[in-house]
């Protein structure tokens, strides 16, 4: 019996060794360990053994069973590894082939610029105000302190829909509307589309975009105007940017100024972008004119404020080095796809 078992074990191990596929491995297990397997049958014959022999043969049979099972399990692992290796080998790809195309579009560069400006001012506690593009002449001119006979009101300068309705030439009417509706303190920016009677060329367009800002509160000073706009310039063009305020004239403000920033391209030494001056003119600003405050029923003895305005198309062109304004309105994909 003992010999018979050992011979069975040797045969089984030989069979196992011969297996080279996972699916035939189970056949070996069934052949020896299954219900009708050789080992099972052999063990059934144990009843015939003497009482002395039975525990010895029983122990041996269990050892053999364990040995076979361990071998099956080892062989299974080896075969699985082999199979995976084969699969891996078969499934190798040329990882340098191009990926599948996904498409993303872009915002228009003007929108990207506007977003950037908005974020800067939103961070300073400003809100965004909007107003009509087709506007009463009195909102576009009178309430902004523009003299009655000023040439800006001419048909050669401003588009008219009716005698008293114009396409706004600036976004300042929005400021008037906000001041008439809300009580100070106010901090608003108003980006938007504006119109002037200009033929389109590399630097002019009858349709363009502006962003104006307004701050009204008790005790707002010209130093606040300088500090706020200087901070804005540093955030937009970089920490190293310097600003220069030159006296200027606007009807909406008094005193008035224009703000130049050091050229972001050359840092102020002079280049093509800044026409070799080292400076770029960015915006107009000033303290809100007392007449304007009065038009909006705000007492200039109690409140003061500042306002500023800038051309968004121009800033976009400067920022990206775009040399022709018409490109902004043309929407050639070869242009649009450049602004990720």
């Amino acid at each position: 019996m003992e010999l018979q078992l050992k011979e069975l074990r040797d045969r089984c191990l030989a069979d196992l060794n011969a297996v080279d596929e996972l699916k035939t491995l189970d056949n070996v297990r069934i052949k020896y360990l299954g219900k009708k397997g050789e080992l099972t049958i052999a063990l059934k014959g144990m009843g015939k053994l003497s009482n002395e022999e039975r525990p010895i043969i029983g122990k041996l049979a269990n050892e053999i069973r364990e040995e076979i099972e361990n071998n099956i399990s080892a062989q299974k692992q080896a075969l699985e590894r082999k199979e995976i290796e084969a699969q891996i080998k078969e499934e190798s790809i040329d990882v340098s082939l191009p990926g599948k195309k996904h498409q993303a579009g872009n915002l228009h560069p003007l929108t990207t610029t506007v977003n950037e400006l908005k974020e800067i001012f939103l961070g300073m506690g400003f809100s965004i105000a909007e107003g009509p593009e087709i506007e009463w002449a009195k909102y576009n001119f009178d309430y902004l302190n523009v003299p009655q006979e000023h040439s800006a009101r001419d048909l050669q300068d401003t588009f008219y829909c009716e005698d008293d309705i114009v396409l706004r030439t600036q976004t300042s009417p929005v400021q008037v509307r906000v001041m008439q509706k809300q009580k100070p303190p106010l901090r608003i920016i108003s980006p938007g589309r504006v119109y002037r009677f200009d033929e389109i060329d590399a630097t002019h367009s009858p349709v363009f975009h502006q962003m104006e800002g307004l701050v009204i509160d008790k005790g707002i000073t010209m130093s606040d105007l300088k500090g706020t706009l200087d901070l804005f310039a540093k955030k937009l063009f970089g920490e190293q940017t310097k600003t220069k305020f030159r006296p200027h004239q606007f009807y909406f403000t008094e005193p008035s100024a224009e703000m130049d920033v050091t050229c972001f391209k050359c840092g102020g030494v002079g280049c093509k972008v800044c026409s070799n001056t080292g400076w770029i003119e960015v915006l107009g600003c000033g303290m809100v004119h007392p007449n304007v405050l009065r038009f909006c029923s705000i007492d200039p003895d109690e409140y003061s404020g500042f306002a500023f305005g800038m051309g968004l198309d121009r800033i976009t062109m400067i920022k990206y080095g775009i040399n022709d304004l018409r490109l902004l309105f043309e929407n050639d994909l070869r242009f649009l796809t450049q602004f990720k």
């Binding site: 993303a104 228009h108 003007l110 929108t111 130093s223 606040d224 300088k226 006296p247 070869r334």
Partner: protein, 792 residues
């Protein structure tokens, strides 16, 4: 405006380099655009007198000149035609450099040495735009009394720096050498010199024998006239010509040059009439009914009764403030002149000049506003110059019609207010000093308050804020510190609508669409191209830039098609675009502003089809929290009749989607298939519900049922879905159309739609008893409504 630095220096002793001076002026409010040396290169050109001209022995076209240079004599060989014995000319001597940088030496001309070269205006680098061609081509002949051996740089002010300044609209007082000199003196804190004026005591009113003046129109606040006898009409002295040239004005003769000189110097436009040509003893200022006048430039001008004229009582002799008439022009025979120094209202001159399309040095000054006080000052200054250069003799008396003399304004300035407003701390004396530098008369009326008298020419100063700017700019804007705003903290931020706009744009960009930027204008023609009847609520512009920009757009689709057309024609093979922008419509309520409606337009061509675009729109609606949009066949005429749909959400129309109509494709030169969707932003936002809330994940399994429905071909799939949804109640979790089939085993004119339905209950597991009745109900309604049945 061009300003000669040399001329300016006659009034203010400017010692700092020109560049620094320009910066200083800019920073005090007079913006310097450019600084240009008249003739940077020129050296070693001196005046010389031609004493003898002899023919060249070896060349017909050359002559040999002996030239007296004051200290020596030299021989110059020249081909110039306009030289003569006795002429004083500029001579570039050995080692000279002319304007274009060429070095001049001693040269051999056919066997004879020439020790230099005579120079033309161009070779000297003078402003060549001002001279006639024949003068340009010859050697510059200088006046007889010019000293010999003088450096041309000094004599002709070739070393002058021309400052181009950009003046703001409120500073008409700066349109002169004196005006800029005042700013320079204030900026640099330097004294300002005076100019000589006519101060002789006159004993008679001789002028009254010749002339009277009547102002019959309020557009002329003042009219001053002085009369002079002309001694000789001749060129003005070189120093005067040079100043005119460096100011960009062409010298003409001694009479006209003086009027221009005073205009440049003081800012008062002057005009000189030939007295005898006036053929009248009176001048009347008024509008007239005349239709024509020939102006000094020999052009006939159409005039009308809105334009202010200077007349001789019968006919116009000048267009007031714009240009004189040819009928009273100064000629070589003029013996008696009337010098007009008048003030005309800026509005009147502006409109007249605009209607005539005639802008002159005079009109552009009047348009910005000229101080009436200046008229008297300028008349006397011009008289002084006429006498000084020996052009005229005075006729005693002065006519000065000045109906309403304005009193000088006084503005008070509270120092504490000023310091608080600007954010600095200046003493009352410092402020007073800065205002005095600007020629304000300042009186201290209390410890902290100044009373400031404003000069007549500073019409722009009315309020304390105006004075604040004056002090601040002299103090220097750059010296004002920058501070962070105090006051209440403001939260700020975007409104929900503004955030929604951002979300829409970002979603479209993420899906491969490019944002476009198009203008707001369209035209009847462009709209006709869209195959639609023109709406009667279009907004037309009164003054459009051409027909193609004459209407405010009422749809964004036209512009999207133009974008597609441009890209298609530029061989960009496919494109996806969107724009969120306004459309404009008449307001049905009169007395209100037109309506502006923001629309979202999405378009595609090249690779996409209707369902691709529809999928984008569905995603967009889904992201806006809109559950069951309906796409119902229909839409505007610009879309393909078989491929268009209107989009509804719970009965509200959002917009339309479809393929572009083949006719429109032709009109707009589009690729054969383009797709577009236009949605009202307001309606979309109104339907949106983007209030995100967490719902527990399902704990019970779902049951799936597939239904294949057989129905007539022309029944829209959407209506089947509606019936399924309506009959399923809360337990229908999702519905998906996974197959549309026609062909074998399906009767002609029918189709099969296969849906996967997913049912789930949140509190329990569903069984057949829950679902079967629902399916039965669905099938029954489909049968009744569409005669549709379950396909076995």
């Amino acid at each position: 405006m061009l300003v000669s630095l040399n001329w300016l220096k006659e009034y203010v002793d400017i010692k700092i380099p020109p560049f620094d001076f320009g910066e200083a002026l800019t920073m005090s409010g007079t913006k310097v655009e450019t600084l240009t040396v008249v003739s940077e290169n020129v050296v070693n050109i001196f005046t010389g007198k031609i004493t003898k001209i002899e023919p060249h022995p070896n060349a017909d076209k050359l002559v040999v000149c002996t030239v007296d240079m004051g200290t020596d004599e030299r021989v110059i060989v020249t081909a110039a035609k306009n030289v003569f014995e006795g002429a004083i000319v500029p001579v570039a001597v050995d080692g000279a450099v002319i304007a274009n940088g060429t070095k001049i030496g001693t040269n051999d001309f056919r066997g004879l040495l020439s020790y230099g070269m005579f120079c033309s205006i161009e070779e000297l680098g003078m402003n060549s735009d001002l001279f006639a061609k024949e003068i340009m081509e010859g050697i510059l002949i200088l006046p007889e009394n010019t000293p010999l051996g003088m450096d041309a740089r000094e004599l002709l002010w070739l070393n002058d720096v021309i400052i181009d300044v950009e003046l703001t609209a409120n500073r008409s007082d700066c349109q002169s050498i004196i005006g800029i000199a005042r700013e320079s003196a204030a900026t640099l804190d330097l004294p300002m010199a005076d100019y000589k004026t006519y101060t002789a005591i006159e004993n008679t009113d001789e002028i009254a024998d010749y002339l009277s003046v009547k102002i019959e129109n309020s557009a002329c606040p003042r009219y001053v006239a002085k009369m002079l006898k002309v001694k000789k009409i001749e060129p003005s002295p070189l120093w005067m010509q040079v100043k005119l040239i460096n100011s960009g004005v062409r010298p003409i003769n001694n009479i006209v040059d003086v009027t221009n000189y005073v205009m440049l110097e003081l800012g008062q436009p002057l005009h000189a009439f030939d007295y005898h040509s006036l053929q009248s003893k009176e001048i009347v200022v008024n509008t007239t009914t005349d239709k024509k006048i020939i102006t000094l430039d020999n052009k006939e001008r159409d005039i009308d009764e809105t334009m202010l004229m200077i007349t001789n009582g019968k006919a116009p002799v000048a267009i007031a403030g714009v240009m004189g008439g040819e009928n009273s022009e100064i000629t070589d025979n003029t013996t008696l002149i009337v010098l007009e120094s008048a003030c005309f209202n800026k509005g009147s001159v502006r409109l007249t000049a605009k209607h005539l399309g005639l802008r002159t040095e005079a009109s552009s000054r009047f348009e910005k506003g000229v101080d009436p006080e200046l008229a008297g000052i300028a008349a006397l200054r011009a008289t002084q110059l006429f006498l000084e250069i020996g052009a005229c003799e005075v006729i005693e008396g002065l006519i000065d019609v000045y109906p309403k003399v304005e009193t000088l304004k006084k503005v008070t300035l509270d120092i504490n207010w000023f310091n608080a407003f600007v954010g600095i701390t200046l003493t009352i004396d410092e402020i007073s000093n800065m205002l005095s530098r600007l020629f304000f008369k300042v009186a201290k009326i209390s410890e902290a308050v100044l009373e400031v008298e404003v000069p007549s020419y500073r019409g722009d100063i009315e309020l304390k804020e105006d004075l604040a700017e004056e002090v601040a700019r002299i103090f220097g804007y750059d010296n004002i510190p920058g501070t962070i705003m105090g006051g209440e903290t403001m939260i700020g931020g975007k409104t929900p609508v503004q955030k929604f706009e951002d979300r829409l744009k970002n979603l479209l960009v993420g899906q491969g669409y490019y944002e476009t930027l198009t203008t707001s204008f369209t035209s009847e023609k462009r709209l006709h191209g869209l195959n639609t009847e023109l709406e009667d609520n279009l907004i037309a512009l009164i003054n459009p830039l051409g027909e193609e920009n004459s209407i405010m757009r009422n749809t964004l689709i036209g512009h999207q098609l133009e974008v597609i057309s441009l890209n298609y024609n530029r061989k960009n093979p496919f494109g996806r675009f969107f724009e969120l922008s306004n459309t404009y419509h008449k307001n049905p309520n009169s007395g209100e502003l037109p309506l502006e409606e923001m629309m979202l337009v999405i378009s595609a061509y090249g690779s996409d089809d209707y369902f691709e675009l529809k999928g984008m729109v569905e995603l967009l609606l889904d992201q806006a929290g809109i559950k069951y949009p309906e796409f119902i066949a229909g839409g505007s005429e610009m879309l393909h009749p078989g491929r268009k749909a209107e989009i509804f959400v719970e009965g509200t129309k959002l917009g339309e989607i479809g393929e572009i109509h083949p006719l429109v494709v032709k009109n707009y030169e589009l690729p054969k298939r383009c797709y577009v969707c236009q949605i009202s932003f307001k309606a979309l936002y109104g339907c949106a519900s983007i209030d995100n809330k967490f719902v527990d994940l399902p704990k019970f399994p779902a049951s799936n049922r597939d239904l294949a429905i057989l129905l007539k071909q022309d029944i829209p799939a959407a209506s089947i879905e509606t019936i399924i949804r309506k009959n399923s109640g809360d337990i229908l979790e999702s519905i998906e159309l996974f197959d549309v089939y026609t062909g074998a085993q399906i009767p002609e004119g029918y189709k099969s739609l296969a849906y996967a339905l997913n049912f789930r209950h949140h509190q329990r597991t569903l069984n057949d008893n829950d679902i079967n009745p629902v399916i039965d109900q669905i099938l029954s309604e489909l049968k009744i409504t569409f005669d549709a049945q379950l396909r076995e």
